[in-house]
Symmetry: D2
């Protein structure tokens, strides 16, 4: 395949709000990298933070940077050391580029690598015709996987990582927050043997969607009393597990309120700022176990996700 010298790319051009469409050189690849011709990319909440150039974005980025971290495409070139994937393989990209050498990487905890670079933030991303990325970040898909599934695999990985942090088998589970990742988490919980899955959100559209994804009960927290609905649905016992995907303090409090003593919690939702919580009641006295979830386990979560998609 002929690879051009330049390409069109959506970039963060300068330290200010907005994106720009720009002509940029097709990126180089190092000996351990692959060059991927992008077939699809999706937009995520992070991209909006960058577009708006908020405080977080300003602290992370040094423009110009090509945007985009949810990407799939075809391998068109590879470095001299690369044995897999092959040229022509259809791949989804893990967006976290890790160092392989820090104490976390060396102990199977690459998801918290202390030198992590996020594509589309710390290095060039995939809202472009081509992207250069370490070969180990390219996850080979079946050739016939639909583009919209392939491009969502990162999000799906977040859902898998969250749901797999707790053993949900035969458990009653509450999912707070029904955005795309929350909805996929409902499906993962159902597929892995949860006894019942309840969901909350503040949007009727999402509450409906949660029901279609298999939630046994879906509650609009603006219109219904979460506490009494969940306690009624669970014969007054509360839930065994809470998967917190909303980042909303009210939802966090409601979730812990209906959590059984000794229950387990996985936290993926981002709140954005400190907030007040009854630490004694919700964590200590409740004998709760709480797991903060960061990204995907590299590459265990990808293997688990593939396993679920195949089942």
């Amino acid at each position: 395949m002929e690879i051009p010298d330049t390409m069109q790319a959506v970039i963060k051009a300068e330290a200010a709000p907005g994106f720009a469409l720009s002509e940029r050189p097709v990126p180089e690849i190092g000996p351990n990298d692959v060059l991927v011709k992008v077939r699809a990319a999706s937009i995520c909440g992070t991209d909006l933070h960058i577009y708006n150039w908020d405080k977080w974005a300003a602290s992370q980025m040094q423009p110009p940077v090509t945007m985009g971290h949810e990407v799939c495409g075809t391998v068109v070139a590879r470095g001299t050391n690369v044995e897999s994937p092959d040229i022509g393989d259809f791949v989804s990209l893990e967006s976290h580029v890790i160092c392989n050498t820090c104490r976390f990487c060396r102990t199977g905890n690459g998801h918290i690598c202390e030198n992590t670079q996020l594509i589309g933030v710390h290095r060039d991303g995939g809202f472009a015709e081509y992207i250069s990325i370490p070969a180990q970040n390219a996850w080979v898909n079946p050739d016939d996987m639909p583009l919209n599934v392939a491009v969502l695999q990162e999000n799906f990985g977040n859902a898998v990582h969250t749901a797999f942090a707790v053993d949900l088998r035969a458990k009653k589970v509450l999912v707070t927050g029904c955005g795309p990742v929350g909805l996929m988490t409902i499906a993962v919980a159902k597929a892995t043997g949860a006894r019942a899955v309840y969901a909350t959100d503040v949007s009727d559209y999402r509450v409906d969607f949660a029901r279609r994804m298999g939630a046994d009960a879906a509650i609009n927290a603006m219109k219904q009393d979460v506490m009494s609905e969940v306690m009624a649905a669970t014969d007054g016992e509360g839930v065994d597990a809470l998967l917190e995907m909303s980042g909303a303090p009210a939802a966090i409090r409601q979730g812990f309120e209906v959590l059984k003593p000794g229950g387990e919690v996985a936290l993926l939702g981002v709140v954005g700022k400190p907030f007040e919580i009854d630490w004694d009641k919700y964590l200590t006295f409740k004998a709760a176990t709480v797991h903060g979830i960061s990204g995907r386990r590299l590459w265990q979560t990808w293997y688990q996700g593939r396993g679920l998609l195949n089942s």
Copy 2:
């Protein structure tokens, strides 16, 4: 309800092969017991050992004993200390009567209580019109649960305890041995998110049944090569988990042969005598984790089983 003084019971009358039908007094209940009017009971392999009065049976029993340990029925009387279940409740019975006071019972490990009594073996069982049993051994069912489900809950508990000993989510699983418990284990593995479940047996009838229970591949080990079939089905990788329900040395060896390095195993099948195994290859070098499974966790497994039945 009028409770008579005597009842018909199938008993082990003397230390010799055979059973007898006999008139016996309706059993007394102590302050922590309930009296259950039996509605259904099923026969299990253990009962055949006792019928034949083999070495194991002779070492365990002191006739006369009323037979039967898979039992469900209705509570008709209860001791002065009993608060639950209620008179009239439809219950299945946990067959292991535990002491509540030994070091195992006191640390949540009642399933390995060192003073366990098995009903129908060490104390009177349920092949009779009535059985007296500690209230804590009576598990309340919904009134509309079919009798054949209620009476199988003990077996189902074995399947749940075995399948829950390993995290099967997104895993490739081999079940060796497709008797009633093995078949239920296939269903449990599928319901709790296994990526694929393979099954082996030596009977075409059972292999067929395994397929109907959801096995992705079911192999007759007398007619097909288990090793090559499983390796083909798993792209040469082998399985992540082995659930051994057969007690057959050949099946055990085949199962470990196709187990991935680092894989997990749960053992429920009873071999009956020592046999030769390549310990280095199958356990040590393979970095396998092996869980011996004994009975059901009291009463965690029952809660889990109820959770699954409801999901």
Copy 3:
């Protein structure tokens, strides 16, 4: 031994501040109880709350109640069902009386029994000559155990439960809060293979005591900068585990601040009211695992504590 009809007891006489010394009947025992002649009892922070009759105390107690929940003594009588302990045994008392029948008790989680009664709060305690208590709450000590050790076993159990909630082997550990339980936790962490134990408190006396208990570094948080001291002591890496015994929001924040990504936390300290925390930074993004600790695991913690005392 002659047991009198009445005894002296320190009681909460009425719903108001203060305690009273009163003559009360020696308590009755039920069939599963023992009567213990008290040899020593210690005062705990909870007793001060009750003395002051604060909001918590008022919500929990219905005077008159005999005070005291840290107690040891000699068994002088036992109910008809009791097989252990024996008359004459020297016992420490577990202060939580549990129901044995709720869903938590039935699954090995008696420490979060939903019907827990605390002696000296919900039922008569041990600031008296005699106390009646379920036999299962009496933990038999060696006859030659010093009284001050025997009476501290409950506190020691809290230290053990907290330290055993996290695998501290070869880990760098921070203990925030060096009251009696915190100090014992330092000793437990050292005895179970922690690589290094750091401790913080706001009292010079306690900081000194922490050093004598084996802390590799002990920091007065009022005089030194916890963050820079701990980071210096850990070559800039932070600690693998945090054992939070202080209940002080500042200490909680400092502890999470120096916790490594992927670190583990056990919470025993009671804050007393809601407070503000950077949930994203300390829990979610840090991929922390946090264990709320409630009481002692019944009776696993007691066995573990005995194991440590013997080692």
Copy 4:
């Protein structure tokens, strides 16, 4: 430092018993490798198998190969990609060279990498003046670590990996087999809070050594009855954990015989051939959990070992 072109090396020269001293070129280094000037190397049982050219050795090696896999030395050159260790660092070598790309390496399970190469077996080792090895296999020691400690770190890693496979805190532990790794395992178990450590061997010298390493009881299995000695030492309860380092079927049987129901086992000893075992009694009915141990976890075990050496 001047690096010569050739060096002296102890090699397996041909497919027959024996070793040879030979002049060989100083090895090349690739971009991710370091060249280490050997300061000390030790001989291990594996080397004897190779010397004797037994069946296992013949199946693994293609002479000529430089021998030696327990090695420490000084880094004297490094490839272009290497950032750590530095020239002049004193390093111990992990003997397993792993691929970093297989499904095991990619999920934090490099110790069971399917492309593992063992130095001194599958590639040139360290019974030579220089060895070339991937930078990630060089573990930096403090400059003042004694040579005999540095060279034993691999063995120490086996002891750590075995002892850390089971939570030994407050437990009664039996170590079967008191060779160098077994003896270090006793020390690790004591240092990580085991309540008591018992040891068996068939050599008086080793039994004595076990006692000096801290074993609470050390038993010569040729002269004493292991079963009765261990049961007496444990008040008839047996041990909570078995660490099997002997590879002797008799020791394995004795170890399982005295293991408590529900106990845990870690297996490092290599038997060498299949043997007969009472699978039902020792694994299934005993509800044992058995962990096969292979090598060291890369590099978690090295971090843990460093932690212990520092504590």
